[in-house]
């Protein structure tokens, strides 16, 4: 299984993602933002970080960088594209997934573990995962998911909500919403469910001694689904 992680100036989770992908069997390649062509593969990851210093709006400049043309083509042809954290912000700026990520409601940078409830398993990312709630890590300043009412209706009608912020039991109360996201949304799909954007970092949960293992479950399941 071949994967590519795109490195933008200011990406800082690209190497963590590389380590995680390789640990679970992906043949991963790092791709520079200024390259024209995406290497052939099964999965493209837009990693977390602060691409272009978060200038203008988070992800807006990266979404126009050279490599993104091939990433958008790959996504439109059905290829799997996953954006984590800043990668999610880049995805919304390309328009591949609907909505936008606003500054956190209480203007704080949030760095902590959260629980997320998986809403939709009818997709290559969560299919056959035998857990409903994952403990993952978030670290962001702009993770407050927002969309128009029309967009929200469309997202809900098409089952595009991937994960919600929740408590350990998977209940999605307002108090478990760290950043003010609409409906506790932590991650969403495009219509075809081949593009996933999410704020939590699965790559930070791949070692039981350092963090937790729920990210390992995610990656092990993902590679099985792609095979």
């Amino acid at each position: 299984m071949k994967s590519s992680v795109i490195t933008f100036p200011g990406s800082n989770c690209d190497r963590d993602m590389d380590v995680a992908l390789k640990k679970f069997g992906f043949n991963n390649q790092m791709v520079w933002h200024n390259d024209n062509e995406l290497p052939k593969g099964d999965l493209v990851i837009l990693p977390g970080g602060f691409s272009y210093g978060d200038y203008l709006r988070c992800g807006s400049v990266a979404s126009k960088s050279k490599i993104m043309k091939s990433v958008i083509d790959f996504a439109n042809s059905g290829g799997l594209v996953m954006g984590i954290c800043n990668g999610f912000q880049i995805l919304v700026e390309t328009g591949l997934v609907p909505g936008v990520l606003l500054r956190n409601k209480y203007l704080e940078f949030i760095c902590k573990n959260v629980f997320v409830k998986i809403d939709n398993k009818d997709n290559p990312y969560f299919k056959n995962l035998d857990k409903e709630v994952l403990e993952l890590h978030i670290a962001h300043n702009e993770g407050n998911y927002f969309c128009t009412n029309d967009q929200l209706k469309e997202i809900e009608d098409n089952n595009q909500i991937a994960i919600y912020y929740s408590n350990e039991k998977g209940q999605t109360y307002e108090k478990d919403n760290p950043n003010g996201s609409t409906k506790n949304i932590a991650g969403i799909f495009n219509k075809r469910k081949n593009v996933l954007g999410m704020m939590p970092h699965p790559e930070r949960m791949i070692d039981k001694y350092l963090s937790g293992e729920d990210g390992s479950l995610f990656f092990k399941n993902l590679i099985k689904n792609i095979k």
């Binding site: 203008l56 709006r57 807006s60 126009k64 700026e93 609907p98 909505g99 936008v100 606003l102 500054r103 956190n104 409601k105 209480y106 203007l107 407050n144 927002f146 969309c147 128009t148 967009q151 003010g180």
Partner: protein, 80 residues
């Protein structure tokens, strides 16, 4: 010629920074504020002397990069 663009958040979008500025101004004694909304201002020197053409170019820039139309509106002003 120089064209300016002002980007503001749409009415329904939460603007926590605007709220904090409002509270701070209020604390300083400016008690007569209804609401504060924070936005962005761009001054772009376009290589084009026809004002209407220059405005069209900047409008395109706003739509494609400078503003995110899900949450923001833009207004274009001729400055020179």
């Amino acid at each position: 010629m120089k064209i300016s663009a002002i980007i503001t958040l749409k009415k329904d979008v939460l603007d926590p920074q605007g709220k904090v500025i409002h509270q701070t101004l209020d604390g300083m004694g400016f008690k007569n504020i209804e609401e504060v909304r924070q936005g962005k201002y761009f001054e772009i020197d376009v290589k084009e002397n026809d004002p209407s053409k220059a405005k069209v170019i900047v409008e395109d820039m706003c739509k494609k990069l400078l503003a995110n139309l899900v949450i923001e509106n833009f207004k274009i002003i001729e400055t020179q």
